[in-house]
């Protein structure tokens, strides 16, 4: 929907992601703020932004396979682990540069994702969900039992570097992570405007009808899994080189569930929804951590651990309340806001 009085005059205008000069202004300003953020943001906020961006990349992948292609997956944390370990193994054991290890970790995770996605050709819904959970446990078991992954001891990958300059702080890593996030977001947004993106949506909405129309289910479902796992692999690689230690405990099924939760809260089938979902869950998590000690101090009879549990309850309550009032996700609320803003001063 365009703002009142704005019309598309060509096909190029019609399909453009950034449509008006106001859009361009907002986008460029946002990018400037994003890249200048470490200069005025605190250390904590910068490190928090890194965590947000890595989660965004992982959830973007999940959005593609689940939100757009309709293939439910609880394997995203495991594929992140594959990316993290691939990158660590390549840099530690083979001396490969981080800059090469980063895309390779995405490709390896994507390739494993194709194997993981194979069951989607025969099963769907809850059955597929169960299959992806099984993949999660297989991956984690392998990590814990292979020598090359450091077994239970984990691995200590190095910080990325360029000609002797090490990205050894959160502030330095920020620029790498944000650049990757911006590129990956643009790629995901663009993908949805292509034939591939439309095929994904056709499969999600009605795979049988899609197949009748000529969509090759075999090809596109596996492609969706490849792309989703590629994203997870990239996120895993960034995570590994940010904290410079990886072990299997960092990639639990709870993380996979959290990513699915981010998707539902943000809104299935929406790129901005990914950002909303990640922001909502991560900020709520941080808010719980931030307020629990304060609650414990203001209510001394309660003690610290029950106060932390209260935080968890608050988190659960917030999610439930949210789901009752806006089950289509925050992205839907955003769409409503945009529509009313663009139609102003008219009601419809």
């Amino acid at each position: 929907m365009r703002p009142c009085g704005v019309f598309d005059k060509s096909y190029a205008q019609d399909i453009a992601i950034v449509r008006t000069w106001q859009h361009w202004t907002i986008l460029i300003s946002a990018l400037i703020v994003l890249y200048l953020f470490p200069l005025f943001g605190s250390y904590y906020l910068t490190s928090f932004m890194n965590l947000l961006a890595i989660s965004v990349i992982a959830v973007l992948g999940l959005q593609i396979v689940s939100g757009y292609c309709g293939q439910i997956s609880f394997g995203q944390a495991a594929f992140m682990a594959i990316g993290a370990y691939t990158s660590s193994v390549l840099t530690i054991h083979f001396g490969v540069s981080f800059w090469l290890a980063l895309p390779l970790s995405g490709i390896v995770a994507g390739a494993v994702g194709i194997i993981g996605g194979a069951p989607s050709l025969r099963i769907k819904g809850m059955y597929l969900a169960m299959a992806t959970i099984a993949i999660h446990f297989v991956v984690i078991w392998l990590i814990l039992h292979l020598d090359i992954t450091g077994s239970f001891k984990g691995l200590y990958p190095p910080y990325p570097s360029v000609g002797g300059f090490e990205f050894d702080t959160d502030e330095r890593m920020y620029y790498i992570i944000m650049t990757v996030m911006v590129i990956m977001t643009y790629a995901a947004r663009n993908l949805m405007r292509t034939k591939v993106g439309r095929a994904f949506v056709a499969i999600r909405d009605n795979d049988l009808a899609g197949e009748v129309m000529g969509v090759n289910l075999y090809h596109y479902k596996l492609l969706a899994f490849f792309i989703a796992c590629f994203y997870a692999g990239i996120a895993g690689s960034l995570w590994a080189h940010l904290i410079t230690v990886v072990n299997a405990e960092q990639f639990t099924l709870l993380h996979a569930l959290e990513y699915v939760g981010m998707l539902i809260i943000g809104g299935m089938g929406s790129i901005p929804g990914v950002f909303f979902g990640v922001l909502f869950i991560r900020i709520l998590n941080e808010a719980v951590m931030f307020t629990s000690p304060a609650l414990a101090k203001s209510l001394p009879w309660l003690g610290t651990s029950p106060a932390a549990a209260l935080g968890l309850i608050a988190f659960g309550l917030a999610v439930i309340i949210f789901l009752i009032f806006e089950p289509r996700g925050l992205a839907h609320r955003w769409e409503i806001f945009k529509a009313s803003y663009r139609l102003y001063p008219f009601a419809y």
Partner: protein
């Protein structure tokens, strides 16, 4: 509309309450030092962590009520990581640059490993449960008591005594069963070497994911392998559940079950006393009847928590952490005074409080320039008639860490 108003009021009250505290805290001009606990209050080791941090917090309250450490108030910050490394790293980064954050207790082997590099970089010190790697590679990470492998070796020593006392010849066969994670495998790194040096045959270990509900397959395999003793790792209630399954299989009649530090506490005993009967536990802190007879922690419990019915012995361990922290801060203050007091000075001070006594809750402090072990002694306990009772006095642990190449 009413619903929205109510929702708004609840959120506003919650935020307001928190902000109110922040504002008073920031305007207050008191001398303060911080202790950060990256704890698990709602995850898989909450059963251990909640009572431990209660002991820690109550002792700190007591010290603060008496005027603090030489007039300095201790601020305790407890963060619920839910045993999640990413949450713990994020939480540490939130407080990383807080002035006077003098000690971080990373309550999980995985979290400790993840934070170790940052801790080194920040010239701070952290505490972790019992990972021997931190003794093998001396750095800024201290462990709470002897390393896991030391304790495993100690109970292997007891196994040999027990075997001989039963009049049996040769050496026993020991099975090992624990969580499939870094913590679960740690006791064998050095512990296995020690056992084998004593002639004990250690069967191929069995590992299972944390959260597993039934352990029959693993137990049956170990039993069929000829185990005379089975060491069940994991944090309570996991060891309790393992032995519950063994009891149901009839294995507890012919196999002696052993547990590590986090084996059955009052929590597990209260649920499966019959199944646990006869189980031996190696512990670096006082357990069961021993713990109940120690006046200092029990009096503190009564003062802040009420009747002793719900007392958990892990409470004493938490109190011991706080006592060590107070001693460390005092030692650092003696050396540099409040103005120059920082995390690095406390790290150095921890290495000078060798021999410090903690109300008998655990052995004398063993931190030193060449030791990151919190103490060197363990006791062996046994479940008898639904109670955990000591069957040995404090005994020094063998140095199993040095037997393994890390």
């Amino acid at each position: 509309m009413k619903k929205k108003c109510l929702l708004f009021l609840v959120i506003a009250a919650w935020v307001g309450l928190s902000l109110g505290v922040f504002s008073t805290a920031s305007f207050a001009e008191e001398k303060e030092v911080i202790y950060l606990s990256l704890a698990d209050y709602t995850g898989p080791i909450a059963g251990l962590n909640v009572p431990a941090d209660m002991g820690l917090e109550d002792y700190i309250k007591e010290i603060n009520a008496k005027g603090g450490v030489e007039g300095i108030t201790i601020k305790f910050i407890g963060i619920d990581t839910r045993y999640d490394v990413a949450r713990a790293v994020s939480a540490y980064k939130r407080y990383r640059r807080t002035p006077r954050l003098l000690m971080v207790n990373s309550i999980s082997t995985g979290i400790g490993k993840a934070l170790a590099r940052l801790i080194e970089k920040d010239k701070r010190a952290q505490l972790v449960p019992g990972d021997g790697e931190f003794q093998a590679h001396l750095g800024r990470t201290f462990i709470w008591g002897p390393a896991y492998q030391d304790a495993f070796a100690a109970i292997m020593g007891w196994v040999m005594d027990d075997w001989k006392a039963k009049g049996k010849s040769g050496a026993p066969v020991v099975g090992y069963l624990s969580w499939d994670n870094p913590y679960g495998r740690e006791p064998l790194r050095g512990g296995k070497e020690y056992a084998e040096s004593r002639g004990i045959k250690v069967l191929p270990p069995e590992f299972f994911p944390p959260g597993t509900l039934k352990h029959d397959v693993y137990l049956t395999r170990l039993a069929e392998g000829g185990a005379d003793y089975i060491y069940a790792g994991g944090v309570d209630p996991t060891p309790t559940n393992v032995i519950r399954d063994a009891y149901a299989l009839g294995l507890t009649k012919r196999i002696q079950f052993l547990n590590g530090y986090w084996g059955p506490t009052a929590l597990g005993i209260g649920i499966h006393a019959d199944a646990l009967e006869g189980t031996a536990i190696v512990s670096f802190f006082q357990r069961g009847t021993d713990a109940l007879m120690n006046k200092e922690p029990t009096e503190l419990w009564k003062k802040y928590r009420g009747a002793l019915d719900a007392y958990n012995e892990v409470y004493g361990m938490g109190m011991s952490w706080a006592m060590t922290y107070v001693a460390g801060v005092k030692e650092a203050l003696k050396e540099v005074g409040y103005k120059k007091l920082n995390a690095d000075e406390v790290y150095k001070a921890y290495q000078r409080i060798t021999g410090f006594e903690r109300a008998g809750i655990q052995g004398p402090c063993a931190y030193s320039p060449s030791s990151r072990r919190g103490s060197l002694e363990v006791k062996i306990y046994r479940v008898k008639g639904g109670k955990i009772m000591p069957i040995t006095d404090w005994r020094k642990v063998p140095d199993a860490v040095s037997l393994h190449t890390f």
